[in-house]
């Protein structure tokens, strides 16, 4: 089993459309004047500068499975029907994770205190969508690496907390990916800190 591969600096294009959508913008309905839009886009840029995207990925062969469990090497067992169903047909998986870093979280917290909550909610949305885009980036990297082995990542991702794949599994994922090396911690409620940190399971299949 290979060790985790770390990405010290992930660069993504700002996912503007997703950010607007997350903030509730509805095209053709929401009225946003030019001056407000400029202010918004300045904040989105500011948020971009506060984020330091890092990530990690690690491949695992699936050693055994049944309808409710997925087994990986070194006694890793993921108990979940929903996950097993998601991974149906995949001989391999990748665990991936990304974080936006602490600076953006500190900035968001400061905005609440300093009467700048408007900026804060924008930062919050930017951070969430950008971390998601970082996972897309890692998946694209995997796709390229897998191509020559005639394999490909399956569409979609599955995270701890979805369906019956309980959040408690986050702890094992944290250990397998050595997330502390990208500056992430996990608390007793299995929440990753800093807040905008996410993990996911990606299925890998052979191409026909």
């Amino acid at each position: 089993m290979n060790g985790p591969q770390f990405f010290d600096r992930i660069t993504v294009q700002t996912p503007l459309r997703n950010i607007y959508r997350r903030l509730g913008y509805k095209k053709g309905v929401t009225r946003l004047e030019a001056g407000r839009r400029d202010e918004l886009e300045t904040w989105i840029r500011d948020a971009g500068l506060l984020m330091h995207l890092k990530g990690v990925a690690r491949r695992f062969p699936v050693t055994a499975r049944d309808s409710s469990r997925t087994l990986l090497p070194e006694d890793v067992v993921f108990e979940s029907r929903d996950l097993a169903s998601f991974l149906d047909g995949c001989g391999e998986i990748a665990l991936i994770a990304a974080t936006a870093g602490e600076d953006i979280i500190n900035a968001i917290e400061q905005t609440a205190a300093a009467n700048q909550l408007t900026r804060g909610v924008v930062f919050d949305a930017v951070a969430s969508e950008t971390v998601d885009a970082a996972l897309d980036w890692i998946t694209a990297y995997l796709r390229q690496a897998l191509r020559r082995e005639n394999k490909a990542p399956r569409r979609g991702r599955f995270s701890a907390g979805y369906g019956d794949f309980t959040l408690e599994n986050q702890k094992r994922i944290f250990e397998l990916l050595e997330l502390q090396r990208i500056g992430v911690r996990i608390n007793e409620s299995f929440i990753l800190i800093p807040e905008k940190s996410v993990t996911a399971v990606v299925g890998i299949r052979e191409k026909p």
Binding site: T11, G120, Q144, R147
Partner: protein, 790 residues
């Protein structure tokens, strides 16, 4: 050969090996060494199909990839695999030594040290060269810096023809954001003999990459696309484009100007055979230019066209006279540099000058660090400004783009040191007409020096497109004739020499008051004489405005698009279509809340009070209806979250401003609430709760926010202390929402009579109902619910 026809490369090898029995999970390089006849068979098939060039099976033959399979004899592996190919193909077929990525990103984009990367590629290249390859191909690169390291590695040990192909995603950029034109400008300047793209996309997308590159290419172009992407055909997902369809793109590739074409993943010898047939005798379009005046960063290109806008080089990052910057550089800190880069970029600079010359500093190290930092922090190409050749060299080596060297003067030893450096790294440079000892005061003297330096530069392979000529700007205050001499020089460079003039603008106004007008005027005057670029301060608004104006007047801004984009459209925060008549004070308050106008609200509130409105009446009759209207607009999605919050913050400001009057009016009467808010124990999310707090305060509630990760005990203690009638609990995860029943049960046990309202992404109405608590989806609903509860 390339001038006459389009050369055909080979196709996919991995899948061909698998078809012939290579098992999954093995190292292809080592397996081929153990089973040479198989790879030889594949390569002979490609040759028979029509490939002019066959790649060695050494894609993963670098130190890192081989180490994964415990192989360490990198040189031998590569040499022997090259010999295996030669044995199969004989002396007449061109064999390309294949160098693929290490899988790691190189500094500043990743953790792999640049020089280590260069060593790794040198090791592999040596093996391939010893094995007798005819050329080298560096392929499937997703990191421009890794591609540079590989190219520099090869060029430092051999003269072999070297192809570099990058892999671009569907959005037309590499994972790190490099687009085809940017990659081309960087790599062809650095010495690549052919540049292009392979893998990741199919023929159609790759044709567009070739089209994008052709106008700027000084080298032949390469395309090695995949046989299509996954498609749904008749309900079934198929991955491979068949040979006929693949080859049907041949004509379009030829028309786009490709010079070497083949196939990557999903292709077979049949694909290559069909491709070769369809290419037939199509005319090869050689590179349409031999040099280009263009600079690049990792993600952006700037082409310095004669008829293009005047380029502004931001002069800010220069420690001369800037104490704070000097200190920061000496301490190795970076925040000021970052900020200056960003400010200049936002002001419209096209390039950034980088000077780190502080007395007693380790200039080489600092230059390397700052260039690496800026390579990531800004998209603008950089100008390397240093008097020390070692610092220039360090910067040129590490910079993941094509840089501009500021500058190369006419002093013999400087020329002999700097010209070869600029040539090796393919940089552009600013030609500075200074000769031994003195600054030439007349245009005539400058012209002579310019010609001398240019002659010397030509022997290093430079053309006029590779340089900008400094007209030399002296201080008008000490020499009134100086501006005229500069203008004469600029005109000569532009019209007679047919080169690209540049000036360092700010000098002209030194010692005068209100320098900005002199700077702006001189810029316009120089532009009229043909100025191509200026080193100036882009944060001066009037300077950039004049620059845009001169572009329009000099026909360098077609249809005045840039000018119009900059200056037309609504400015400031004024909302269009306001009431025709002057609004009353209360109308202004209402509108300000609707607009989220935090800046003016207190003035409007004061005006309303001065006009006779009491504070409580203003709140009840004007402000609360305004914020309710905002809530409605939000509910209908005509406002989205930032507007909702901006209005709420405006309301908050107004409420705080009115608080003394409101308190006086209350005089003993009770305020609504207090409402207690807390994020439960173990949970750290609180922005939603902050929004609820804000909205409640807008509606006149007193709110006590206990923060996040609050234990049940602490919550109940606060309930008792504040005698809170309502408690709002927030949780965002399944693991923490279980705390909510805990808190509610504990409150019951203790006989507390507060009511609960729950919120958070995982919380649902049924969940709240089961606990006898209220539920709200968002801040607006929370206010409604709490009003009802009381």
């Amino acid at each position: 050969m390339l001038r006459k026809r389009i050369l055909v490369l080979d196709g996919a090898t991995g899948t061909e090996l698998q078809k012939r029995g290579m098992p999954g999970g093995v190292c292809p390089e080592l397996w081929c060494l153990e089973n040479p006849s198989v790879i030889q068979d594949v390569q002979q098939e490609y040759r028979a199909a029509g490939s002019d060039v066959v790649y060695t099976c050494t894609f993963g033959g670098n130190r890192f990839k081989l180490a994964e399979f415990n192989a360490r004899n990198v040189l031998e592996v590569n040499r022997d695999l090259a010999r295996v190919s030669r044995k199969a193909l004989g002396p007449k077929t061109l064999i390309a030594g294949d160098i693929g990525p290490t899988g790691q990103f190189v500094k500043p984009f990743g953790s792999l040290d640049f020089e280590e990367a260069v060593d790794v590629f040198k090791e592999q290249a040596r093996g391939l060269i010893e094995g007798g390859v005819d050329l080298i191909v560096i392929e499937t690169m997703m990191d421009i810096q890794e591609a540079r390291a590989a190219l520099i590695a090869v060029k430092e040990i051999s003269d072999l023809f070297t192809i570099v192909t990058m892999t671009f995603e569907k959005d037309g950029r590499t994972l790190n954001g490099t687009d085809p034109r940017t990659a081309l400008i960087t790599l062809q300047a650095l010495g690549a003999d052919a540049v292009g793209s392979n893998c990741s996309t199919g023929p159609a997308d790759m044709i567009s990459f070739v089209k994008a590159m052709k106008p700027c290419a000084t080298v032949p172009l390469v395309a090695k696309p995949n046989a299509g992407l996954p498609r749904l055909v008749g309900g079934k997902t198929t991955f491979d484009m068949d040979a006929r369809e693949f080859a049907s793109y041949a004509g379009r590739f030829a028309a786009a100007g490709v010079n070497l074409v083949g196939g990557c993943c999903g292709t077979t010898p049949l694909h290559i055979r069909e491709l070769k047939e369809r290419i037939g005798g199509a005319r090869a379009i050689p590179p349409i230019r031999s040099s280009i005046g263009a600079l690049s960063s990792a993600r952006k290109v700037l082409v310095l066209e004669e008829k293009g806008p005047l380029a502004i080089i931001g002069e800010g990052i220069n420690p001369t006279g800037k104490k704070a910057l000097q200190e920061e550089l000496l301490q190795g800190k970076t925040s000021l540099v970052r900020r200056m880069a960003r400010e200049q970029e936002e002001s419209g600079a096209d390039l950034l000058d980088v000077n780190v010359g502080v007395p007693a500093i380790d200039e080489v190290k600092t230059m390397r660090d700052v260039i690496s930092l800026l390579a990531v922090a800004t998209d603008l190409p950089l100008v390397i400004d240093s008097a020390r050749p070692e610092a220039v060299e360090a910067a040129l080596r590490i910079y993941p783009g094509r840089a501009l060297v500021n500058s190369i003067p006419g002093e013999k030893d400087k020329m002999e040191t700097l010209l070869p450096l600029a040539a090796k790294y393919g940089a552009m440079f600013i030609l500075l007409p200074l000769a031994e000892g003195e600054i030439p005061e007349t245009a005539e003297k400058r012209i002579k020096i310019i010609q001398a330096i240019y002659r010397r530069a030509r022997s290093f392979g430079f053309t006029k497109e590779d340089l900008l000529v400094d007209g030399i700007v002296m201080t008008a205050a000490s020499n009134p004739q100086a501006p005229a001499e500069t203008l004469k020089t600029i005109e000569w460079v532009s019209k007679t020499f047919k080169g690209a003039p540049l000036i360092g603008l700010s000098n002209v106004s030194f010692g005068m008051p209100e320098r900005r007008w002199l700077n702006a005027a001189f810029l316009a005057m120089a532009a009229a004489k043909g100025l191509r670029a200026a080193i100036a301060n882009p944060t001066r608004e009037e300077l950039m405005a004049v620059k845009l104006a001169t572009d329009v007047l000099g026909q360098r801004d077609r249809d005045a698009l840039n000018y119009i984009a900059r200056f037309s459209g609504p400015s400031g925060q004024k909302e269009p279509g306001g009431p025709a008549a002057e609004p009353s004070p209360t109308e202004s308050v209402y509108q300000a809340i609707l607009d989220g106008n935090r800046d003016d609200i207190n003035d409007f509130v004061d005006a309303a009070v001065a006009a006779g409105k009491t504070a409580p009446a203003l709140v009840q009759d004007t402000m609360i209806p305004a914020i309710i209207r905002v809530g409605d607009l939000f509910g209908r999605k005509e406002y989205f979250l930032p507007q909702l919050i901006a209005s709420a913050e405006t309301m908050k400001k107004a409420m705080e401003h009115l608080e003394p009057r409101l308190r006086a009016a209350r005089a003993g009467g009770k305020r609504k609430g207090p409402i207690l808010l807390a994020t439960v124990q173990g949970d750290i999310h609180d922005i939603g709760k902050s929004i609820v707090a804000l909205m409640l305060r807008n509606h006149g509630f007193q709110v006590v926010d206990l923060g996040k990760d609050v234990s049940a005990g602490a919550i109940l203690k606060a309930v008792r202390r504040h005698k809170a009638p309502v408690v709002g609990l927030s949780a965002l995860m399944t693991t923490t929402m279980v705390r909510m029943p805990e808190v509610i049960r504990l409150a019951e046990e203790k006989g507390l009579r507060c009511r609960f309202i729950l919120g958070g992404a995982v919380v649902t109405k049924p969940f709240a109902d089961s606990l006898g608590a209220a539920f709200a989806r968002d801040g607006v609903e929370a206010v409604r619910m709490i009003e009802r509860m009381l």
